[in-house]
């Protein structure tokens, strides 16, 4: 694809996005307006995340793309292919081997490490949007740190349901200042936002906003003293790998109410099965869903893991 620049976007556009990212990192949780471009995939398919990833990618990167926690969902496949085609970067399904992970709706189960970047696709970046539809109003509310409306909403939930009835995109407060939408991740994932070693970047293409959490940022899920936040998941273990504390997908297996629960993080699950963990319905990993070995754009296999140690060193945004 020599018709297009490395990672599709032209260098001026990348600069503009990098400036927005840097501003976002300087003011954690603040939504930075940026001149989002029309991308060759539709708005709603992750154009914000794709632009952020394109602006961060360097040729040495190793990219992982997940959607709903899985590497093999159609849109994850499509975005990964896009960057293989336009940037020729190596790709991987292993969380630990990736330098950049673009995600939709999940944070990987395996803890991230320093030097990694997690890029979230964000549909509606404004946590106050469904309380106040006007952008002109919500920006003012953030300026004035006027979050009373959000607390009233959470209180009304408790008054009506006895608990806060928000299962995903659960609002958080960043470093005691900005209320932020963590993108539609299940609230099970919220605790992983805080104190994370990785850089977390959020891109909303259609809404033209970028925001960020630098490493080790304090992120608190909104709650009340007498109704503390708790991460929740289906009360089961993974039927394939037996994991007790991973987020689960529910799979309907027949038309008589039969169902099974499996890790939504496919890399985490296959890693556990390879290590010999077997769940209720699991089989020998050699015969169940194979874990494809990571390949680069040309289809060759990747250099050994040891070579990725200098992850942080090459990540210089010097031209921005």
């Amino acid at each position: 694809m020599s018709d297009y620049n490395f990672a599709y976007l032209d260098e001026q556009t990348k600069r503009m996005i990098r400036r927005a990212i840097l501003k976002g990192i300087a003011v954690p949780g603040y939504q930075v307006p940026f001149a989002s471009r029309e991308m060759p995939m539709p708005y709603g398919w992750g154009t914000g995340g794709v632009q952020v990833t394109a602006a961060c990618l360097v040729p040495e990167d190793r990219l992982k793309v997940i959607d709903q926690g899985a590497d093999d969902t159609t849109n994850a496949v499509s975005i990964r292919k896009f960057f293989q085609r336009t940037a020729g970067v190596a790709v991987t399904e292993a969380t630990t081997e990736a330098t950049i992970i673009q995600t939709r709706h999940r944070i990987p189960e395996t803890p991230l490490t320093e030097g990694q970047i997690l890029v979230y696709q964000v549909p509606i970046p404004e946590p106050l949007r469904f309380l106040e539809p006007r952008e002109t109003e919500t920006r003012k509310m953030h300026e004035l740190e006027e979050y009373g409306l959000m607390h009233v909403k959470l209180y009304e939930d408790i008054a009506r349901h006895g608990q806060i009835a928000t299962a995903y995109a659960y609002p958080v407060k960043v470093e005691g200042r900005y209320v932020m939408d963590p993108s539609p991740i299940p609230r099970f994932d919220n605790p992983k936002l805080s104190g994370n070693c990785a850089i977390q970047l959020f891109g909303a293409g259609r809404e033209q906003r970028i925001y960020a959490l630098p490493p080790f940022t304090k992120v608190v899920s909104l709650d009340f003293d007498d109704h503390p936040f708790h991460a929740s998941k289906a009360p089961h273990d993974c039927d394939l790998c037996g994991a007790k504390h991973s987020y689960l997908d529910e799979v309907i297996t027949d038309d008589a109410g039969g169902r099974m629960f499996v890790c939504s993080d496919t890399d985490f699950c296959s890693g556990r099965r390879t290590a010999g963990h077997i769940g209720r319905l699991g089989t020998d990993p050699a015969h169940s869903r194979p874990h494809p070995s990571p390949t680069n754009a040309e289809g060759g296999s990747l250099p050994p893991r040891g070579e990725r140690m200098g992850v942080g060193a090459h990540r210089q945004v010097g031209s921005a």
Binding site: Y4, Y8, D10, P33, F34, A35, S36, E38, M39, P40, P42, Y43, G44, W45, T47, D67, Q68, A70, D72, T73, T74, N75, V77, S78, K81, R104, H105, R106, P123, E135, T136, H161, Q163, A165, A167, Y168, A169, P184, I185, P186, R187, F188, R206, Q208, S232, A234, L240, Y247, L248, D249, E250, V251, T253, M260, V262, S264, L281, T283, S288, R289
Partner: protein, 366 residues
């Protein structure tokens, strides 16, 4: 046991192959050429150029072919291509008074300098299916243009209708400005928007959305009381200043539709009674869009004219500008068909828990 519910690369490749086959249709029927679409589906081409914000009839025709006639999909192809193009320079503003006219009508004056030119319009056709077209017969050639129409002397500027009213001070002054407007495709939309920015958003906005917004103002949701002062369609020269030469050079021409409405205005606290203006300018012969745009433009100007905000949707800048773009709208609307099982699982778990607790409470009450 475990069904592979998650899609993969092969599924995508197969879907694309099937799509290509469907696009071609019955191979017993000759394939459409891009030139045929460009020449014979010209109004579709115009719409794609207008909403795609790129004046290129060949590429618009290609996009329509590739999109199987789905015009929003075609607009999307053009937009995605457009963003990759380098910006080589900025043209001078086009001068629509110097337009080579194909059509020029005024609803406010019976006759006027430059004349009324009906042009190639559907306006007075009877909407009867023409089965002769089905028989694929060639229509008779139209007679050559008469001497009287503007074609006879294309170098003679045709003044705008609003300028006649302006001479008597009956219509608001539209002050000329050399300020460089913000480029909507290069800067994030921030509100309140200038009129130039609003017009940019409207001209590339969805024709159906802008039409319905305009229609709503006619039916009383923020009335606009509009007359079509003038509607003109034709070709204008595009000129670019070449610094090395020190003068402007014509690099080509574009076809545009321009509509200026004259709107009744009884005056406000700040403005005297006079006629006010609404403006529409769209690529190609796209008069429905241009008229609709001028009504919505006028409606959005309530604040600067000191009118009351009646709470009508077409007066609400944020509502109109954030929702008029069909590429943004269709993307967000259709994305709900992407996998959401993580969110749905979270909701399932919540609803099950709420139901459990409601049941426990009900049992306790009994």
């Amino acid at each position: 046991m475990y069904v592979a519910v998650k899609g993969g690369e092969r599924a995508i490749d197969n879907a694309h192959a099937w799509l290509a086959e469907e696009r071609r249709g019955d191979r017993g029927v000759p394939e459409l050429s891009v030139a045929q679409i460009r020449e014979q589906m010209r109004l579709a081409v115009n719409r794609v150029m207008a909403e795609g914000s790129l004046y290129d009839p060949d590429l618009a025709a290609l996009a329509i072919k590739q999109a199987r006639g789905d015009l929003i999909e075609a607009v999307f192809l053009i937009r995605a291509y457009r963003t990759t193009l380098p910006r080589l320079g900025t043209s001078n503003p086009i001068d629509t008074a110097k337009m080579t006219l194909d059509r020029r009508i005024s609803a406010t004056f019976k006759d006027l300098p430059g004349g009324q030119v009906l042009g190639p319009t559907f306006d007075y056709t009877h909407r009867l299916l023409d089965f002769a077209l089905m028989a694929e017969g060639e229509p008779p050639l139209s007679p050559p243009p008469e001497e009287a129409v503007a074609h006879a002397n294309p170098t003679q500027p045709v003044p705008h209708v609003a300028s006649f009213l302006n001479r008597d001070g009956l219509i608001e002054e539209a002050a000329a400005s050399d300020a460089t407007p913000i480029d909507l495709t290069r800067a994030p939309l921030e509100l309140p928007a200038s009129r130039a920015l609003r017009l940019q958003a409207l001209t590339r906005g969805d024709e159906g959305f802008v039409l319905s917004m305009a229609y709503s103002t006619q039916r009383g949701y923020g009335r606009t009381h509009a007359f079509v002062g003038e509607l003109r369609i034709g070709r204008v020269a595009v000129e670019v200043d070449i610094p090395e030469l020190g003068f402007a050079v014509e690099i080509g021409e574009v076809e545009v539709t321009e509509c200026e409405t004259v709107n009744q205005f009884k005056g406000s606290k700040t403005e005297p009674p006079q006629f006010t203006r609404g403006y529409g300018l769209v690529f190609g012969q796209t008069e429905r869009k241009a008229i609709a745009m001028s009504l919505v433009d006028r409606s959005l100007r309530w604040n600067e004219l000191g009118e009351d905000n009646t709470g009508a949707p077409a007066q609400d800048e944020e509502f109109v500008l954030y929702h008029c773009d069909n590429i943004q709208a269709t993307g967000f609307l259709e994305h709900i068909k992407l996998p959401h099982y993580v969110d749905f699982q979270a909701e399932l778990e919540l609803v099950r828990r709420l139901r459990r607790e409601a049941q426990t409470m009900q049992e306790a009450a009994e």
